[in-house]
Amino acid sequence: MTTAPEHNPTLHELTLMDRLAQYAPVLLIPILMVIGLAAIQSPSSWLTLTVSGLAMGMMIFIMASGLTLVFGLMDVINFGHGAFVSVGAFIGISILLALGTMTGAPSIFLNVLAVLIAIVGAMIGAGLLGWAFERVIVKPVYGAHLKQILVTMGGMIVVEQLILVVWGPDEIFINRPEALKGAYIFLGAAVEKYRLLAVVLGLVIFAGMRWVLRHTKIGLIVRAGVENGEMVRALGYPLRLVFISIFIAGSALAGLGGVMWGLYQEVITAHMGGSLMVLVFIVVIIGGLGSVEGCFIGALLVGLLQNYVGFLDPKLALVSNIGLMVLILMWRPQGMVPVVRAK
């Protein structure tokens, strides 16, 4: 009889490279910033572009986060997500225009209050639309990807057209409230106040979302649902209710993103959501469908790259993001932060 081989499990400490590899997606952001600095050379332009890239990334993240969670939870891909962005922007900007006395006043308090009212209005409007959208458009086609894509696309066309019916066919121009106009001069670089605000707001939302997902019961159910929905349902949790809530929350966030984007561009059109969807999809794909962290990293990468390349050669801005997507998919075909799923 042979004896079993000696079994001595040992725990090696991870090497530095292994530890770094775990954070590889996050590390891409500073790497991209350094490459950007090398390519642009002028530090002051670089700083301006970096801040605007981060601001853009945060806004895209806010729009994309709902989409990625909705997909992760119920395998529903919503091509009409851009409609919530447009609707949010139109509602929010209309409120701001109606509150012209508050936004025009030289008081920070009144300005911020007006923006907050607009944001709340936009989020409620987009959230309600999201609820209706889920009920009428998405619910009948659960589990059929092909029909989902077609129907949600159709839903987006209808919503876009309804915006045109309600608000008329012309684009709407808007001035930012007094307190958000202008820029700080920092190390010789002009950094717009509004972009800083967008970055801060984006960080707050990301931190809040992460907190909810990691430290609350709801978050636990959501994360478990993303990994294995059937098991969560078998344990008696009403996954469908969770899903609807996430859908509504995601739509409301898209509406918030829409208001922020409208104030950033200072002009809104009914097609803005549809055209932003291109960037949102790139972000969701490179981040890994279903992953909020991946979505955040992806959005920052896309925002930075878009701004750097847009400065160097405006024609190539969008193409460079396609290139980024291709490279990342070659590296990790499931996206940067692949979500493990049992399905």
Binding site: L146, V278, K315, N321
Partner: protein, 352 residues
């Protein structure tokens, strides 16, 4: 004979046969039945969109994957002809070289996109094609040195295809027999041949495998078919079809521009045509394209009348405004995906 021409896939319904015959006769004799430039233009558009939609149906209806890059391939074919005609010079050789080059570029692009996105998940394909198509459309409208930018390119086609060339001194049945008429018949026969080719492809063993993949991916894979290969193949064939349709369109219009070939609106039009006509039936493309192009050209007139008639009522004139016709088509689109995904053709075949 007829059976082999249609690759054994006959309409299988009396009403459908009748409808197809009406469309065919209408298109074949369009210059004589509906004289006038506008109606001839409409007829040519119908021919070209039938091919475009049939090639999209191979992807959406037969293989079950959604692409948003179909207009990109359409545009590649159109720009191929335009650029060849400008750089080689007016002539049939330029048209042929341009069409083939466009088809080749489309095939290469489709292979790259397919291998990239279909390898992982079919759902990526829809998003990636959307992103790539948008990027290409932006690129085409910005590289004004080569593509003419937003203005597009005007170019000359061979004299034999323009109205300057007269073939008979006297009109035939009241219609001038000139190059324009020849050009129309080039469109008609070009489209007819391509349509029959697509009918052939979808009824070949290759087409059957595509349908098997659509119905049950796992099972098709376990029988031993490499799914990525077949899906990419379908995407390439459909891209080539779209590019050839684009070449025809460019020859007919003697102009290419981002709005006529690359815009996202056309992509939505194609989706609507496929779904209304019936997915997974090449005949659906014929019906869908005909209904849609006719509606596009004449429904708006009807809506003007309706909007005027309801002038005194509140909301109605706003939603009946002819600029809002996409609203109605969008609603129709959603309803048809829900309630009759097999489209007009499916309905007609179902009744027997």
């Amino acid at each position: 004979m007829l059976n082999s021409l249609f690759s054994g896939d006959l309409p299988r319904s009396k009403a459908l046969t009748l409808l197809l015959l009406v469309i065919f006769v209408g298109l074949a004799f369009a210059p004589f039945i509906f004289p006038g430039t506008r109606s001839l233009d409409t007829a040519a558009r119908i021919c070209i969109f039938i091919v475009l939609v049939a090639s999209y149906d191979l992807l959406l209806g037969y293989t079950g994957i959604v692409s948003f890059a179909h207009t990109m391939f359409f545009g590649v074919g159109a720009y191929g002809v335009a650029l060849a005609s400008i750089h080689i010079g007016r002539g049939f050789d330029a048209l042929i070289v341009g069409s083939l080059a466009g088809a080749l570029v489309a095939a290469v692009l489709a292979t790259i996109i397919g291998l990239f996105s279909l390898r992982v998940r079919a759902i990526f394909f829809a998003m990636i094609t959307l992103a790539v198509a948008t990027a290409v459309a932006v690129l085409f409208s910005q590289m004004s040195g080569i593509t003419g930018g937003e203005d597009g390119l005007n170019f000359k086609i061979p004299r034999a295809l323009t109205s300057a060339q007269k073939y008979m001194s006297d009109p035939l049945f009241g219609v001038k027999v000139n190059g324009k008429l020849m050009n129309y018949y080039l469109m008609l026969f070009g489209s007819l041949i391509l349509l029959l080719v697509f009918l052939r492809i979808t009824n070949s063993p290759f087409g059957r495998v595509l349908q098997a993949i659509r119905e049950n991916e796992f099972r098709a894979e376990s029988i031993g078919y490499k799914i990525v290969f077949f899906r990419t193949g379908a995407s390439v064939i459909s891209a080539v079809g779209a590019a050839l349709a684009g070449s025809l369109y460019a020859i007919w219009l003697r102009y290419v521009g981002p709005d006529t070939t690359l815009s996202f609106e056309i992509m939505i039009d194609i989706l609507l045509m496929v779904v209304i006509g019936g997915m997974g039936t090449i005949y659906g493309a014929v019906i869908g394209a005909t209904i849609f192009v006719l509606a596009q050209n004449y429904l708006q007139n009807l809506m003007v009348v309706a909007a005027d008639a309801t002038q005194s009522l509140p909301v109605l004139p706003l939603i009946l405004n002819p600029d809002r016709w996409l609203l109605w088509l969008g609603i129709l689109f959603i309803l048809s995906v829900y309630f009759f995904p097999s489209g007009v053709v499916g309905r007609l075949r179902g009744k027997r």
